[in-house]
């Protein structure tokens, strides 16, 4: 379990990136931080592995204040996946995936076997193992990034807009794979995105942030539509727009769901 207690981050230039956040991330679930650009999502995420230290408040992992843990050791125990994969360009795909286990002192042979296994798990052909990151497509690089994040078998996986830079089709594939992976592995995932649809798809819990790093609403995805906290929330989730206002129509004996513009959205299961 990850717990934010009154966490604030003010940068030296005066910018308040995160303003007094209280938040509990339950274990073995996916929590998605969503919000506009500059709302402090990345800052909040990086406070978990001490890439950023809060100026006030505390972040706790299983009850331990992370400020008391050596940052290097802490980071080796937490998976991190970022946009544009952040792969090391001078290492092959396999070596990239093996990086953290080797840092932790795993034997080379063991790390290698585990890495090959993980490449398969994230849907990459074994023939890619010896390639360099620049020889891969954007989607393939993100898969490697996910494999690398999982390589040391961390309990916690942090993902900062991991699918933000790939085209929509590939993004959908990757989202589905992450859902499948999460069903199998049951990690504590904290996922950052500015795409509310992605947040609703992946999140067991969604946390909506606004400028100044304040939590506007948090809860299960459906709650955001059922009872948006304010106009900002309904605006952000699109509840006030046509696409989320659905109604039923009878077509040839079946009930079809259409949105406000009359565009068919699907059929209603009996």
């Amino acid at each position: 379990m990850i717990e934010f207690r009154g966490v604030t981050k003010q940068y030296p230039d005066g910018t308040v990136a995160v303003g007094g956040v209280d938040l509990v991330v339950p274990p073995r679930t996916t929590t998605v931080l969503v919000g506009t650009s500059g709302s402090g999502k990345t800052t909040l995420l990086r406070m978990i592995n001490r890439m950023v230290d809060p100026t006030d408040g505390a972040v706790l992992i299983d009850g331990t204040d992370v400020a008391t843990v050596d940052p290097v050791r802490l980071r080796r125990s937490i998976g991190y996946v970022m946009q544009n994969s952040g792969l090391l360009p001078h290492r092959t795909v396999l070596d990239n995936v093996m990086t953290v286990p080797l840092l932790k002192g795993t034997r080379r042979q063991t790390a290698r076997a585990r890495a090959m296994e993980l490449l398969e798990t994230v849907g990459l052909d074994a023939s890619l193992a010896q390639k360099y990151p620049a020889q891969l497509s954007g989607g393939q690089q993100q898969r490697v990034g996910v494999a690398r994040g999982l390589a040391a078998d961390p309990n916690i996986l942090l993902m900062d807009e991991p699918f933000g830079a790939v085209d929509p089709l590939v993004r959908q594939e990757l989202q589905q794979e992450l859902r499948r992976l999460q069903r199998e592995l049951g990690k504590t995932v904290v996922f950052v995105t500015h795409d509310i649809d992605e947040a609703f798809l992946l999140g067991d819990q969604v946390v909506l942030l606004r400028t100044g790093g304040r939590v506007v609403q948090s809860g299960e995805p459906a709650e955001f539509l059922a009872s948006p906290a304010d106009d900002f929330v309904s605006g952000f989730v699109g509840a006030d727009r046509g696409r989320r206002r659905l109604r039923l129509e009878e077509v040839g004996g079946r009930r079809v769901v259409v949105d406000e513009d009359g565009r068919p959205a699907g059929v209603l299961e009996p």
Binding site: N49, M51, V72, R73, L74, R75, R76, S77, Y80, M82, N84, G86, L87, L88, P89, H90, R91, T99, V100, L103, K104, E120, T121, V122, G123, L124, D125, S127, L128, K131, Y132, P133, A134, Q135, L136, S137, G139, Q140, R143, R148, E173, Q176, E177, E184
Partner: protein, 230 residues
């Protein structure tokens, strides 16, 4: 040609002396410039000061430096050590800026990813920043190699033997073949050392060529079905 054939032994000997003067200076300036360049890359205030100092250092006429240096180092003016120190200083002056640029060229995303994975600052330097700075460092090293090998010849004027002695001697005695041999031998030496450094780069930085932009492989897009675990 006749002159060369008769003096092959001398030329060979001077070639070795020349090599013994330039290689230590090249290696020393490369090794010393890297930490200075890294400091210039990390600290904004240090950058301006260090790069200006290097510029000034490089602007000192070589003959003046060769003559003035013994006052500081205590080596004799004709001592090869004096020359090596002077050449190292010039090499550093050339190399520091390139080293700073080389570290600047490492993508901030990559550095961030390395930190996030749990590299310590030192681990990140050796495992990530230094190798990724490699291609630009190599480009700087090549300039240092050529300029050092050529600068060694100036030492002949103050009496430190090298291939440059062939020009001074040739001028004094009016032997054109000797002068030409000195020039050609110096250039060949520079080219050979340059080629060796390029070869070393290929061996040490195999990713640099394959990772060249615009050479992405489009094949083998992984089908998602293949991703289902067994």
């Amino acid at each position: 040609m006749n002159w060369l054939v008769q003096n092959l032994g001398l030329v060979g000997e001077l070639l070795l002396v020349h090599l013994a003067l330039s290689v230590p200076a090249i290696i020393l300036s490369f090794v010393i410039a890297i930490p200075i360049g890294y400091l210039a890359h990390r600290q904004r205030w240090a950058r301006g000061v260090l790069l200006t100092l290097c510029g000034v250092l490089y602007a000192i006429p070589s003959l003046a430096l060769f003559i003035a240096l013994p006052a500081i180092t205590g080596f004799g003016i004709r001592s090869p050590l004096n020359l090596v120190v002077a050449l190292t200083l010039y090499g550093i002056a050339v190399m520091v800026r390139t080293a700073a640029d080389a570290f600047d060229a490492v993508s901030p995303d990559t550095r961030l990813a390395a930190t996030a994975m749990g590299y310590s600052a030192a681990g990140r330097f050796w495992a990530v920043e230094l190798p990724l700075a490699g291609p630009v460092l190599l480009a700087g090293l090549r300039v240092v190699i050529v300029s050092t090998v050529s600068l060694v010849t100036v030492g002949a004027v103050i009496g430190v033997q090298s291939l440059g002695s062939l020009f001074t001697d040739g001028f004094q005695r009016g032997i054109v073949a000797e002068i030409v041999t000195g020039i050609v031998a110096t250039m060949v030496l520079a080219l050979v050392l340059d080629a060796l450094s390029v070869l070393a780069g290929r061996l040490l930085l195999p990713w640099a060529r394959r990772a060249a932009p615009g050479r992405r492989s489009s094949s083998q897009a992984a089908p998602i079905e293949a991703g289902e675990p067994a």
